[in-house]
């Protein structure tokens, strides 16, 4: 596959994931569209361009690991896992409902492909570090990716973990910050200013790369290249737009954690279908989320 084709495939996946995200949140009647949409290109690049993984063998020892520290963006993870084939797409309709494998926040005991349960912010990076330590101890070279929100960086444990990864030379860990600049109560800069995120991570001993978090080609290049200095973990600060892909959600903190109503859903899906057709003309754009085989 040419590089161009790889990028196009990731873009098509991301477009489809955004469509799934809105459909499943609308069906659930609650959820977090803003931060799911902002992370769609990052997660699509990881699952369909970077990570070694096998949906038929979720526990395959040689797989790369993904920890969604910003667990409220569960729909973006579920969309990726469903597309990859970890579970049947019909499960997407059960998001947040009683008995579902798709809990409001990721639950590793219920859903294949979820490495560890997350949702209480600030905890994912420490867990990712522990996983990387264990992998190193067992001689594995698998990578561990951890996706954090920028508001999440206000949690102290993140910085405890940042110090730890650098101290222990965990260069198989890649922390990705979905830097959309917004949190529930408004702009991060107004709620609790983060300062210069890249500089802070650099000061904590990380190699920091800044990237457009909606540019699949740039994400692919940034996430695939090894650390410049062995033993130095890589942090990717991805500039993103909260609600990316749905015009009325973009840049609006109000869409952090609420579902669109029927009218808004219709408009959002129409916009996303357009993007989907543009990204992947070969794919039936209005296929229902129930398509595909269930396992």
């Amino acid at each position: 596959m040419t590089q161009e084709a790889r990028v196009a495939a990731i873009e098509a996946r991301a477009a489809r994931m955004r469509h799934d995200i809105i459909e499943m949140i609308a069906e659930a009647g609650s959820g977090h569209p803003g931060g799911s949409l902002s992370a769609a290109d990052i997660v699509a690049t990881l699952y369909f361009g970077i990570m070694k993984h096998d949906p038929q063998r979720p526990g395959w020892p040689e797989r790369d690991r993904f920890v969604l520290s910003k667990g409220h963006a569960a729909p973006v993870l579920y969309a990726a896992l469903a597309q990859a084939g970890y579970f049947g797409r019909s499960h997407l309709q059960t998001l947040r409902k009683l008995g579902s494998i798709l809990q409001g926040h990721p639950d590793c005991l219920k859903c294949d492909g979820v490495e560890v349960s997350t949702g209480s912010l600030g905890q994912g990076l420490a867990i990712a570090n522990g996983m990387a330590l264990a992998l190193r101890l067992s001689g594995s070279t698998s990578r561990v990716f951890c996706l954090l929100g920028d508001g999440e960086l206000q949690e102290g444990e993140v910085w405890e973990a940042a110090m730890f990864a650098a101290h222990h030379g965990l260069d198989t860990v890649t922390a990705i910050v979905d830097h959309n600049g917004l949190q529930i109560d408004g702009a991060c800069s107004e709620v609790m200013c983060l300062g210069e995120v890249a500089e802070k991570l650099h000061a904590f001993g990380w190699e920091v790369r800044e990237v457009d978090g909606h540019d699949a080609e740039a994400l692919l290049a940034t996430l695939s290249s090894p650390p410049v200095v062995a033993g130095v973990p890589v942090a990717v600060v991805a500039r993103t737009v909260k609600g990316r892909g749905v015009s009325f959600m973009e840049g609006d903190a109000g869409w952090h954690g609420k579902a669109p109503n029927a009218e808004q859903t219709k408009q959002a899906l129409a916009e996303l279908r357009e993007s989907l057709v543009a990204a992947d003309p070969g794919q039936l754009s209005d296929a229902p989320v129930t398509e595909g085989s269930d396992r």
């Binding site: 560890v116 996983m131 101290h167």
Partner: protein
């Protein structure tokens, strides 16, 4: 009475034995490895020991990650920090994911001594007991502590093993096996049951000696497993004696006394008295002074037992 040893002394040593026996044990501590004795483990197996610095939340998180990948991590630090400071990490990173993380912090209870109330953890049993899937072990001596650590290492799921700073008499022989979900009858009796855990087992045995002088034959139970509680075992003793005193170096709210009251309320309601710290923080002093100050001595237990028998 035999030599005294602190239950914390069992930690590093037992972890070394477990690795030598082939278990996937690793240890994570937060700048207290000398006090908790995990430093001994770190010296023996430097590649299996991780110091996170003064960062207890991270300690639990790193342990969770190690467990995700199949290791059996033990965490150190002091009980007050490991359970209080990192409660949400224990809840969400460990228990909610059902991970094999074993918390074995030391310096629980007032026998920490001079460090005072900020460091004397009296709420940890309560905090850990309410977490789904968490097992809570409170060993009474050094031998039981070793057995508890072994049981935690070899039984899947999260564990809390409560260890102490102060030396306590060795009550058990080396062949002691820690049985989950089973109280141990240390002394049989017919008039009253003294149900104790941790350092209070020694005090309960002393109380039984004292009561025997008055012809009161107390049954002494070592309730080393607070969860899962041997409710049937405690109820059986209560049905026989028809009076129970619980004894713990912990708040009377939420710990052993509460667990026993819950069990007996459902299975065998009998008059009950709870010996423990009565909804106050600790304070500086020597361990023995503090035991007397907070009413946790054998004499205090005997007095409570007599009062309960008068009431009945």
């Amino acid at each position: 009475m035999s030599d005294k040893r602190a239950t914390r002394e069992a930690l590093g040593e037992t972890l070394i034995e477990l690795v030598n026996e082939g278990t996937a044990v690793v240890a994570v501590d937060a700048d207290l490895s000398g006090s908790t004795t995990t430093a001994r483990f770190g010296t023996a197996f430097p590649e299996r020991f991780f110091n996170v610095g003064i960062a207890e939340q991270n300690m639990i998180g790193v342990a969770a990650g190690l467990a995700v990948e199949g290791m059996v991590p033990f965490t150190g630090s002091f009980a007050v920090f490991a359970t209080g400071r990192a409660y949400d990490q224990v809840r969400n990173s460990v228990c909610y994911s059902g991970l094999d993380v074993k918390l074995a912090p030391t310096h629980a209870g007032i026998t920490v001594g001079p460090d005072g109330g900020s460091h004397q953890m009296l709420e940890d049993i309560a905090l850990m007991r309410v977490l789904p899937g968490m097992r809570v072990l409170v060993p009474a001596d050094y031998v039981a502590a070793k057995a508890a650590i072994r049981l935690a290492a070899t039984t899947p799921g999260p564990f809390y093993v409560r260890l102490g700073r102060a030396g306590v008499p060795v009550l058990y022989g080396d062949d002691h096996r820690f049985e989950l979900d089973r109280v141990r009858v240390l002394r049989e009796g017919i008039h009253i049951t003294l149900a104790a855990c941790g350092v209070m087992v020694e005090q309960a045995l002393a109380a039984a000696e004292e009561l025997a002088l008055d012809g009161i034959h107390a049954e002494v139970l070592d309730v080393a497993t607070i969860k899962p509680l041997d409710a049937q075992g405690i109820a059986a003793s209560a049905r026989k004696t028809r009076a129970v005193v619980t004894c713990e170096e912990h708040s009377v709210i939420g710990g052993l006394g509460s667990a026993v009251a819950e069990a007996l309320g459902e299975l065998a309601p009998v008059p009950l008295a709870r010996i423990g710290v009565r909804d106050v923080f600790g304070t500086s002093g020597e361990p023995a002074e503090l035991m007397a100050h907070f009413g946790l001595t054998g004499e205090d237990i005997a007095r409570a037992a007599r009062r309960l028998l008068e009431r009945r």
